[in-house]
């Protein structure tokens, strides 16, 4: 049971993030929602590589014993790097949107069909 808690947390984070993106009208909050989903996915990746009583997968100066899987950690790292770029870009777009419309409420933007 205790081993499944991270997975439940992942599920919760993804659902919370999706709910935030779907139901919040504030652009910044939507960006936060995307970030929460991303953290959930990253947590899932990290959890995949976890082994009980394992040490960090550093080849040199290892105290011995089993190591956790390094590949998911590398994937997570890449995902975090991408996340930084995405976050920066989204926030700069929000700045531009705010400049044009003077609001962060998505309902008051000019999109949609006519």
């Amino acid at each position: 049971m205790i081993a499944n808690i991270p997975f439940l947390a992942v599920m919760a984070m993804i659902i919370i993030g999706l709910a935030t993106v779907v139901f919040k009208r504030n652009l910044i909050k939507m960006v936060i929602g995307v970030s929460i989903i991303e953290s959930g996915v990253n947590l899932f990746l990290i959890t995949l590589g976890y082994r009980e009583h394992s040490v960090a997968p550093i080849y040199t100066a290892s105290p011995g014993g089993i190591m956790s899987y390094p590949v998911p950690q590398a994937l997570t790292l890449t995902s975090i790097v991408i996340g930084v770029a995405v976050l920066a870009l989204m926030l700069s777009l929000v700045i531009y949107i705010y400049r044009h419309y003077k609001t962060l409420d998505i309902r008051k933007l000019g999109g949609g069909e006519e």
Partner: protein, 117 residues
């Protein structure tokens, strides 16, 4: 190489050769051109015959007004399919959260179709 260019395109159930079509078009064009060259002897430039006929109304001075605008074209079609178009218009709200809602909705549909839930 050259023969391959001229090969007929086999579509499994029929065939299609654009070059033959092009040739046929050329012949038809020639025939039309010859017919047109014979002309209509009763046609006279600059008389009543060449004037625009607007149901008896006088022609606009400003030629620009004669141009049918894009939003007026196919008015009948748009009017008769209004129920579809208005529904579709409502779908396109221009808001990211509605689009994500559609995305989750489609995930649910796929789940139903593939039998996960």
């Amino acid at each position: 190489m050259f023969e391959q260019l001229l090969k007929t395109f086999d579509t499994g159930n029929g065939y299609w050769n654009p070059l033959v079509w092009g040739f046929a078009f050329l012949i038809i064009f020639l025939i039309i051109y010859i017919l047109r060259g014979r002309g209509n002897p009763s046609y006279k430039r600059g008389t009543e015959q060449t004037k625009v006929f607007l149901s008896g109304n006088p022609e606009y001075e400003n030629k620009e007004l004669l141009h049918v605008k894009a939003s007026n074209l196919y008015w009948g079609w748009v009017e008769s399919t209004k129920w579809v178009i208005n529904t579709l218009k409502k779908m396109h709200t221009g808001r990211a959260n509605d689009y994500i809602l559609w995305f989750t909705f489609m995930i649910a549909i796929f789940m139903l179709l593939l039998g996960v839930i």
